[in-house]
Amino acid sequence: MGIGADTMADLKSVCSLDSLRCHPVDQPPDTDFVPPDPTLRTLIQRKKKQDHRASLKICKNRHDLYADELERLTVGRKPEEEADMVPEGEVVLTINVYYPATFEKFTYVRPHVTLLMTGSHSLAELRDAICCVSDLQVCGEFSNTPDMAPDFISKDHYKSAFFYFEGVFYNDMRYPECQDISITTIEWAKTRNFPAYSQAKMEDTRFVDLKLKVGFPYLYCHQGDCEHLVIITDIRLTHENDCLDKKLYPLLTHKHRVTTQKCAVCHVYIGRWFTTDDQFAPSDPCLFCDKCFRMLHYDAEGNKLGEFLAYPYVDRGAFN
């Protein structure tokens, strides 16, 4: 601005942080409790709340402790190598991926996963970062061959997936098994009065190339029918306080924990087997953990005892 050194020194002294200090330096106020006789309305309100809370006997809330745990771990992390540093001017997106909706029970909470991504990441990387339990589902009845179960994970069988942003379907075409599952929707839309949709490849599109609306719901579909709502909540430029290590992105900042269902016998381990028509089970259907299942249904040599149908079960909270 072209001002002299004296004016600069003046400015510095006037606008220093000392001017904002309301209490003398050697008497810092107690930041946990509101001081008595507050004049500001915010403090009056807060004091009321504090007094009310003191009258109830609630112990410390566990949720508060873990609330920002994930974010705290990654804030301000710098990479070891220079090449992995997120460049200046890079855009960071905050994406909420919601768990597939269950309509049996209407809840006020919308469980979701929050991921941070940079603009130069491709959609395929986002897809890889989304963990859904439906990917781990195993189809088939395995009562006769309980040890062969892990060979048939759905993720390996049905690799197709697509994203839908602003009228364009982005398909995953990385593997030869991937089919274009969006074509059905596009053709159906053509027969009705919908504007024409187009297609593109997921792995070729980066976030900077997309046209997005903040807060608008988009779709991620995989396994043919498992649909997730995707909402972009925030877009901003990178800042020195962000995690600057490119390798850590997509970064998980928030994840809803789902309550897991435990074994019907021990109530300790998470259920991994789901049986129907089972003469040993107390209810139909019934959930067992691996140990209890084998102990109850198979003898020491591994022979099947009795009649039952067993399916491997993946609990919703498998990613907790």
């Binding site: 400015l11 106020p29 107690d30 809330n61 807060g215």
Partner: protein, 357 residues
Amino acid sequence: MPRQRVIYSDVFYDPLTQDVEELLAHFQQTDSVRYEEFSAIWREMGFSDVFIGTTSRSELKRFCRVALATAVKYFLPPYSYQIRVGGLYLMFGLYNTQLAVPPVQIRLALRDWAQVQKFVKDSVDSGHQDVVYIYQKLVASKAIHYTAMPHLLTFLKQRKRKKEAVCEGFIGRTVAVQELYSADILEEGSNIQSQYETLKEATEEVGSKASMTQRDFTARLKDCMSEFLTWQQKTFSQHNKESGDDEDEEEEEKSAEASSSRARLLSSIKQKSYSNFQEVSKARRHRQQETVEESSSGAEQVQETLQRRRPPSLRARTWKSLGVTREECRHQSWLLSAPEQQRVAVRRTNQTPPFKP
């Protein structure tokens, strides 16, 4: 599990907004933009204590976000320059005294960026060095997040959309009319008109029969503008004088006076804003070059603009899609210099009858 109400989940927090408005009202009364004055008021009110008392970390982060968003609100238009400077100082103060670690950043949206640049340029041109210094200090300490949207998106269903009350006393007065006055548009207009008149006289057939302009067009425009300017200065300085008298009284009475004068401000400013609309539409009519009476149409325009401010009703939208525009109907009511009663009758038939069960 019962639904848990999250505190500070809305964008702004009422008691905090009241505190901030009080601070800015004191600052406005000092009639200066110097940082020393602001920091004196800050210290007097003990404003850095707003952060005290929040125990949980997430609460504190949310509160800091809300506080900074409130400060940014006063930094952007339509507030007057002094209030915007106050907003900038407030941003600086809150950012540096916040208790959250790591500090919560100030969000600046893309659409406001041009306004901010203009503000800084104006400050540089006017030589307000402390304003520029504070701004540069904020930028240098990496306090700003450059975002796409001004507020962080949260998903809580709002039962009732609360209309944010804009503190009327802080809004900057419009200077558009002044600029128009100082520009030489009036001269140009009169030149063009005289040229037109001479050309018209030259063509003998048309000469005296048709006239597209009013003879005293520029004179009337000038009258309107000067009337507006004098009225603006009169009302604005009147309120300044009123608030100036309060300084001798005690602090509680001052705040009571300020709130009652604020109420008076609100009511008078509402009238001001209606006449603002009146002014604009008058000018538009002149440009359209129709012959209309000045006085009678004032009140109707107030009501018509009130109606226009609401989103178009279903009836209006259907009419529009069928090809009959509501604008045309309104235009016609302007063209006819009809007496007041008839105009009211026209409007009544346009409205849907009230529902009777």
